[in-house]
């Protein structure tokens, strides 16, 4: 509280923001909490409420294409909630199977990402500090290129006259090209490829902290390396595994770009449905209901993620 004036006098911008925040009664610790709270409020809670509101309204040919859910008439505020959008989602089997399919694809992709990411994270955590930084750089490097470009690059790899098929045919391994593009296989490749870093990074952060003396103790007590992996390393990295899995699973459920570009016509993911409802059908209320239901589908994994992060923080302290 008494430090704040020094900081303000040195930083003109800080001074300005600081004064504004001070006026609203934020000081010191309060400020530290206020900024992320404000961020979440503006960029998460308010949009969520807007979407929730639209999901309860009725579609209309108008601009915006839905009717308001409250109205002033004769000095009274009257509400008209329309739960029909939600009813519709449960009546039409298309939506239910799309949710199931999304959860299945995201789940399988998460398991594949875990099986690929764990050994990679383990290797990075075990390598010498210099090599470690280089390897971490390589994991993060793809983020420097546009995600869309990278998915297009996969089309180049997977299509019938793409790099993989051409190579296999020129080697004489196959006579006819494999159909890979526009299949679920391509969707798995795309999702695993896209989200693998989100698996590796939390696993790495967990594994690098593992005290090697636990492994020595296990070895001293008669455990072969493979046994100490399953009895010590794996259980101790559980919070990293959960964090990584959730960071892959949660966005993968709602993934839209990968199934749209790499998937086939029968790849039914909820993200594509949402896109269609919103842009093709211009049915904003249904699209919003789809989004809200998806959020509830994800509540359980989000809780799991939070618990894993709390456990991680506890372990660090």
């Amino acid at each position: 509280m008494n430090r704040a004036p020094d900081i303000e006098s040195k930083l003109p911008a800080g001074q300005f923001i600081g004064r504004i925040l001070n006026r609203f009664g934020f000081r010191g610790r309060g400020l530290v909490i206020a900024i992320p709270t404000l961020w979440l409020l503006v960029f998460f809670l308010i949009p969520f409420l807007v979407v929730a509101k639209i999901s309860l309204s009725e579609a209309a040919i108008a601009r915006p294409p839905y009717l308001p859910i409250w109205e002033w008439s004769d000095g009274f505020l009257s509400f008209s909630f329309n739960f029909g959008n939600y009813m519709f989602l449960f009546e039409d089997p298309l939506y239910l199977s799309a949710y199931m399919e999304s959860v299945k694809i995201a789940g399988v992709a998460t398991i594949i990402a875990l099986l690929l990411g764990y050994p990679m994270a383990y290797l990075i955590a075990r390598s010498a500090p210099n090599t470690r930084n280089l390897l971490l750089m390589l994991v993060i490097l793809p983020f420097w290129t546009s995600f869309l470009l990278r998915v297009y690059a996969w089309i180049g790899f997977l299509k019938s006259n793409g790099i993989i098929n051409n190579f296999l045919m020129s080697m004489g391994v196959i006579d006819e090209p494999f159909v890979m593009l526009q299949t679920d296989f391509a969707v798995y490749v795309g999702i695993v490829y896209t989200y693998l870093p989100f698996m590796i990074l939390p696993l790495y952060a967990n594994l690098v902290k593992l005290d090697p003396s636990y492994l020595e103790a296990a070895s001293d007590l008669g455990a072969r390396p493979i046994v100490s992996f399953f009895t010590v390393t794996l259980p101790l990295s559980m919070s990293g595994i959960i964090a990584g899995c959730m960071l892959v699973f949660i966005p993968a459920v709602g993934e839209f770009v990968v199934p749209a570009l790499l998937g086939g016509p029968d790849t039914l993911m909820i993200g594509s449905i949402l896109w269609n409802e919103f842009f093709s059908n211009r049915d904003w209320p249904i699209a919003s209901a789809v989004a809200i239901v998806m959020l509830f589908v994800l509540v359980v994994p989000i809780m799991l993620l939070r618990r894993a992060q709390a456990a991680e923080q506890e372990a660090a302290s």
């Binding site: 005290d211 020595e216 103790a217 296990a218 001293d220 007590l221 008669g222 455990a223 046994v227």
Partner: protein, 379 residues
């Protein structure tokens, strides 16, 4: 050298026919160009508590880790129970280790931690349960069997670590600073418990410590280490009374060192002339030196007598003034300033209540010690 009567039962190291249980032969360990352990040789016999004593960073842990198999030896040989340990993985060795950091598995309860080693041996469940509960009782942790390590105090964690390393009944147990995290009182109690457990189970212990009192209390023999080398091996008594060199004398307990030159060199005594004392010092044992050679003489503070009256029956007497008095309850320690400017520490037992107050600052005193009290140590 032995200054006690050799009784092969309790002192196998004095029995030429005894076969050491652990033999360390010219072991060297280098990390890059840095030599952490340098040409160490060591014999430890069955049932011993052998202490490796030395300051921080002198290579104690490294030596222990080579015995456990966590570090390879750069050169030399380690033989345990007649088996060369070269190339034997830690999990295949018949040894267990109690880690300096305890290294308790944080995700397992006390019970599971202790059971871990037995399960790895594939023992049947009920036998594991029996042995674990026996061990838990032995270290008095019955009430805590289902707690996780982070729910225990330092002393309790230390007991779990001990129990976990003992439960497999290893032939050789290595303990790296086992009592380092405990406060003084608890440490003293635990030292005796440790000795009792060791006696009951008949396990051979190699204990690493930097605490000379702990080493003196626990061990059958001590190996004093400095700079990766063992500078002296012997019983606590030998190490204390006959330190091989100045480092050992200084490291173990408190000591007064006088530097000088040999002026008389006979078979059973030497006389050393020292500028620090103004009088010649008589030492009642022979040395392998020559007249004129520079030597140092070590005299323990408690082997000196302090008095206001001359001390006619002491072989060595010097005069000085009391510069500091430290009252320690059971004894007082005086720092006496000699005419040469050197200060000498003299410990005087407080046998009567008023004894402590008869000597005080600025008193002119005589400090004396017998011919057998001093030892000549190499530099």
């Amino acid at each position: 050298m032995s200054h006690e009567n050799a009784t092969p039962d309790t002192q196998p190291w004095n029995d030429p026919k005894a076969v050491p249980f652990l033999q360390v032969k010219n072991v060297t360990k280098k990390f890059g160009t840095f030599t952490a352990v340098s040409d160490v040789s060591l014999d430890v016999y069955k049932g011993e508590i052998f202490c490796l004593l030395g300051g921080s960073g002198c290579g104690k842990s490294t030596l222990l880790r080579m015995l456990s198999g966590f570090e390879d030896v750069t050169s030399g040989q380690i033989i345990i129970d007649g088996q060369d340990q070269a190339g034997v993985a830690p999990y295949a060795r018949q040894t267990n280790m109690m880690f300096q950091s305890y290294a308790l598995f944080p995700h397992m309860t006390v019970e599971k931690n202790i059971a871990y080693g037995l399960k790895r041996d594939g023992l049947p469940r009920d036998e594991v349960a029996v042995r674990v509960s026996e061990m838990i009782s032995l270290v008095q942790l019955d009430k805590f069997a289902n707690r996780k390590p982070h729910q225990l105090s330092g002393g309790q964690q230390q007991r779990v670590a001990l129990a976990r390393s003992l439960v497999k009944k290893p032939k050789l147990l290595m303990l790296d600073e086992p009592l380092g995290a405990l406060d003084k009182k608890l440490r003293e109690e635990t030292q005796f418990e440790l000795m009792e457990i060791q006696e009951n189970l008949g396990v051979t212990f190699v204990v690493v410590t930097h605490d000379q009192e702990e080493a003196m209390t626990l061990s059958s023999r001590i190996g004093v280490m400095t700079d990766g080398q063992i500078v002296q091996t012997g019983t606590p008594h030998e190490i204390y009374e006959y330190p091989a060199n100045r480092f050992v004398a200084d490291f173990i307990g408190s000591v007064n060192i006088f530097e000088g030159r040999i002026v008389e060199d006979e078979v059973d005594y030497v006389v050393v002339q020292s500028r620090e004392t103004n009088t010649d010092i008589f030492v009642a044992h022979g040395v392998s030196g020559t007249v004129g050679q520079k030597v140092a003489i070590a005299v323990r503070p408690e082997k000196m007598t302090i008095s206001k009256d001359p001390l006619p029956d002491m072989r060595n007497v010097i005069k000085g003034t009391i510069a500091e008095v430290a009252y320690m309850g059971n004894r007082s320690v005086y720092q006496v300033q000699l005419e040469s400017g050197k200060r000498v520490r003299v410990a005087h037992p407080n046998r009567t209540r008023r004894g402590a107050h008869t000597l005080t600052w600025e008193d002119e005193v005589y400090v004396g010690w017998a011919g057998q009290a001093g030892v000549v140590v190499s530099q």
